[in-house]
């Protein structure tokens, strides 16, 4: 069967969930060959094999951490040359998309970004994309070269599918552009102990209606009672009440959880762009006319300062 290259997103060897989802999709169209780069690359092999990687190509060099994007493109290109894959799949993170795009132009291939599904087709893999703030669904494919496709988180289930996962060293030589942009400092994001926003099964978000940084404690308490991630609208982020890394929407994260709870959020098109594909949507808003209510499966017209704490208490008592 044809080999499908899967770019591995990992932190010091810990494979992030979207990569495991990519392996599920890759198995639909061929045999997944994973490419893991940088510190801890070899440590990814067990998790990747467990989820279907027939081979794991690894490379580590200081360049991967010291320079932006391009060293990883050089490595992925070397993997393409070594494997001659039928397609290249990359997680749709900001960096993943840039790596994929530069690879595509180098190898003379078209690129599709932000696929939400993937299936085999007569003329190569067919990607499903959401367009115009998820009000349209398109089916598209790459018509020239080796398809390069980036896939959004939560687009496929993680499935156990044990395979060999044989580790092989990938030989990489860096080109002149690799050292063009130096990373002079890196501050890792502090962990909150809550699930990752883009990966969480439940997201609880607050907007301008939360009315103050200190009031976000109410949103966090609800999130914690449900084991959820916390999100925020841009209005709340711009006001300085919550970090930008938690923003949901067009210029923040795009989420697609099983359950999305919006409190004090009106439902502007740019916010919807980041949450409209959630399976179940719930909103609490004191304005019965708020556009968010057009999207909801269940809505409560009321003051979030009454409704949210009552809900949190009820969740806690039901969970015992």
């Amino acid at each position: 069967m044809a080999e499908i290259l899967v770019y591995v997103d990992h932190v010091d060897g810990a494979v992030r969930k979207p990569t495991l989802e990519l392996l599920t999709l890759a198995r639909r169209i061929g045999d997944p060959v994973a490419v893991a780069l940088g510190n801890g690359a070899a440590d990814t092999a067990a998790a990747l094999a467990e989820h279907g990687a027939v081979k794991v190509l690894t490379a580590d060099a200081p360049e991967f951490a010291e320079y932006l994007v391009v060293p990883k493109v050089d490595a992925l290109q070397a993997a393409v040359a070594a494997v001659s894959p039928a397609a290249v799949l990359v997680p749709s993170s900001a960096e993943g998309k840039e790596i994929a795009a530069r690879l595509a132009v180098r190898i003379g291939s078209g690129i599709i970004t932000d696929a939400v599904d993937l299936e085999a087709g007569d003329e190569g893999p067919v990607a499903t994309q959401s367009a115009f703030a998820a009000s349209f669904t398109t089916k598209s494919r790459v018509s020239k070269g080796t398809p390069v496709i980036t896939v959004k988180p939560n687009s496929a289930p993680v499935e156990a599918a044990p395979a060999a996962g044989a580790v092989e060293a990938l030989a990489v030589s860096f080109g002149a552009l690799a050292t063009g942009t130096k990373v002079t400092a890196r501050t890792p994001r502090e962990s909150t102990g809550r699930p990752e926003l883009t990966e969480a099964a439940i997201v609880v978000s607050g907007g301008r209606g939360v009315n103050g940084a200190e009031n976000f404690a109410i949103i966090e308490a609800l999130a914690d009672s449900l084991g959820a991630a916390v999100g925020a609208s841009r209005a709340a982020v711009d006001a300085g009440w919550y970090p930008h890394s938690n923003q949901v929407g067009q210029t923040g994260k795009s989420v697609s959880p099983q359950l999305y709870i919006a409190s004090g959020i009106s439902g502007a098109i740019q916010h919807r762009a980041g949450m409209q594909t959630s399976k179940t949507i719930v909103a609490i808003n004191k304005d019965a006319e708020a556009p968010i209510f057009d999207l909801v499966d269940y809505g409560v017209v009321g003051d979030l300062f009454d409704v949210v704490p009552q809900l949190t208490e009820e969740v806690k008592s039901r969970k015992g």
Partner: protein, 261 residues
Amino acid sequence: MSLRIVVCVKYVPDATGDRHFADDLTVDRDDVDGLLSELDEYAVEQALQIAEEADDAEVTVLTVGPEDAKDALRKALSMGADKAVHVEDDDLHGTDVMGTSLVLAKAIEKVGYDVVIAGMASTDGTMGVLPAILAERLGVPQVTLLSEVSIEDGVVKGRRDGDTASEQLEASLPAVVSVTDQSGEARYPSFKGIMAAKKKPVESLELDDLDIDADEVGLAGAWTAVDSAAERPARTAGTIVKDEGEGGKQLAEYLASQKFI
């Protein structure tokens, strides 16, 4: 020497309008008003600030798009850019990101540049990859998705807030930069700016001027193909209750019925 800044701006259908696809599955531009992509206003703003800091600088705004895309250029000129370049050609209809980046790269080389500044993503295609492809095509450093940017002594520095870490970046010019909506509020055009913009030069280029063949771009020259586009079914109307003191409990009951609790 003057610092030559080229800002890439896109003309897009208004996101608050009823955006949809035309019969050939390209973006329908007839039924919805177009405008300068809001996210490119941030690129224009940073270009103007960098130009103000530099002793001598020239800001050129560049777009690839249909006739009406001139509106986007005018807006950028009224914010304070010095001149504009419009690549317009019927053969460009339906061009994908590879074709668009090819045209932009050739136009940028023709105009001449020390730094290219782009937005983080367009508000219609939303791919967020064009600046990286431009850097690859131009063979210069990519310094993208910056929330903070400065240029001094031929070196661009900036902060990139990533998924797992925040990074400080540094590269020598020439380079391609992109900025996020966290980089600083964009200015409104002043009345004086709007009047001045009417007299600023807008140069029009066609594919011939850039030595690009018609078959390298457009729908036929695209390296991707859209097979279908379907409107997402409207979400079925949900249950909406008014809080009469029990709203939180009612919501909990619903969540339990859906097995979330």
